[in-house]
Subunit: 257 residues, 2 copies
């Protein structure tokens, strides 16, 4: 392997608790910033830009984030993986590094992303899950929750669940799946797969779903918020720490020959 520039795909998992989110922010620890620093160090200081598939918010975690970067390193992919694992903190883990076609773009090429929001419904709250789930003390009507989730899939304008920092003009996205996965008797994941998500969309959806779960609104309310396009009808934004970017899907394998 020569130090000729090549594009690599990085598959990542991270505990976002101590980070100000994915995106680089001067003077604050971010996932993108940590990766760019680590890769620059491997390149003897030459700056690297890392592009992520999803710009996770401060405190949001990932089990299957995908990023790409152009590097000029005379090291095989396995060597880069090894070096990054040694440099990066235990909170940011590189699952795989592979050389891909130079045209690969982690965000543009993604055809779907899956986010899961974890809800710990145990009475006491599990201290082992406290960083990664919302402890919901109120009793939830799971049937109502499932009924509301089943209404979500489809191609829709999701403005009703976008937070004000959302600046994109086109707010139409296709959600292909929205369902509750029972992980343990008192632990559920609310999982959403779509071709794209607006700012805080999952956390806003979960806020409204919890309103339905506790009986403050009926399942069809979820569609009323969507139809009105008015955030003020929705529930509160659920806290960031319950959210994890689970996976990013690509239509074709982007691998250099």
């Amino acid at each position: 392997v020569s130090a000729v520039p090549r594009r690599i795909r990085l598959d990542l998992a991270y505990d976002g608790t101590g980070y100000a989110g994915w995106q680089v922010q001067p003077g604050r620890p971010t996932i993108q910033g940590s990766l760019e620093e680590a890769l620059a160090r491997l390149q003897g200081g030459a700056a690297v830009r890392v592009r992520g598939a999803g710009r996770t918010d401060a405190g949001v975690h990932a089990r299957g984030q995908v990023a790409d970067a152009q590097v000029a390193l005379a090291i095989e992919d396995a060597g880069i993986t090894h070096a990054l694992r040694a440099i990066l903190p235990a909170a940011i883990r590189v699952l795989t590094v592979r050389t891909v076609d130079d045209g690969f773009h982690a965000r543009h090429d993604a055809i779907a992303k899956t986010y899961a929001y974890y809800v710990d419904r145990s009475a006491a709250g599990d201290p082992f899950l406290a960083r990664f789930s919302l402890h919901e003390r109120r009793r939830l009507d799971l049937d109502a929750l499932d009924e509301a989730l089943a209404l979500l899939p489809g191609r829709r304008d999701w403005s009703g669940f976008a937070s004000s920092p959302c600046v994109v003009a086109d707010r139409v996205r296709t959600m292909s799946a929205a369902r509750r996965v029972s992980i343990r008797p008192t632990l559920d994941a609310l999982a959403f797969t779509a071709d794209g998500f607006l700012t805080h969309m999952v956390r806003n959806l979960v806020g409204s779903l919890l309103e339905i779960g506790v009986g403050r609104a009926a399942p069809p309310r979820i569609l009323e918020v969507l139809a009105s396009g008015d955030r003020r009808l929705a529930g509160a934004t659920a806290p960031a720490h319950g959210l994890t970017l689970e996976r990013v899907d690509y239509g074709v394998t982007m691998r250099a020959p």
Copy 2:
């Protein structure tokens, strides 16, 4: 319920990461100290002594610690549970509170304790388990590990696995079970049940077991360390953060009528 003094049993789970262990130490955050402060607050400031079944080290976690305390509170057990859950941080969770016979002693009455040491054998290391498991990058021979574990149960003098701060004279304990539980393909728990444990005993045992797992010693070495009673023959003490007190067993139900 009147404020007549009564003894309560507390079942607890905690993430020990941010704590200097179970036992009260002036000026440092401890589990016992946090509980005593919370109970004193419920009693309008009157001091309470909380006795734990196991004095977990700094950084060690619990999923089933048991403690007892004498309180004078005109609140039902459920009310105490509720109040403690509201006062204590997310890292310390009260699973149950129940009034017990005044003679109940969480440590003296325990007939067995089970500790589990979690080993994350994934190549990258799972950031969601980083606080609660040891990331072991070396390849482990699981058969050798199982063989060594199978040699452990029995009534023995465990001096060979006690660390120097251990001041007890009688170091004979009966280990009723020692086994590896495969939790996921790359996550194992090394679980030990005994009627008592010496200082750092599990962490020292795990240190020697890992030496055997990586092939630096054969399984019978574990008994040689025991026979010699000499700590210097054992492996390094495994780090605290991989250890969790899983459960404490009592022979009879200690419940007030």
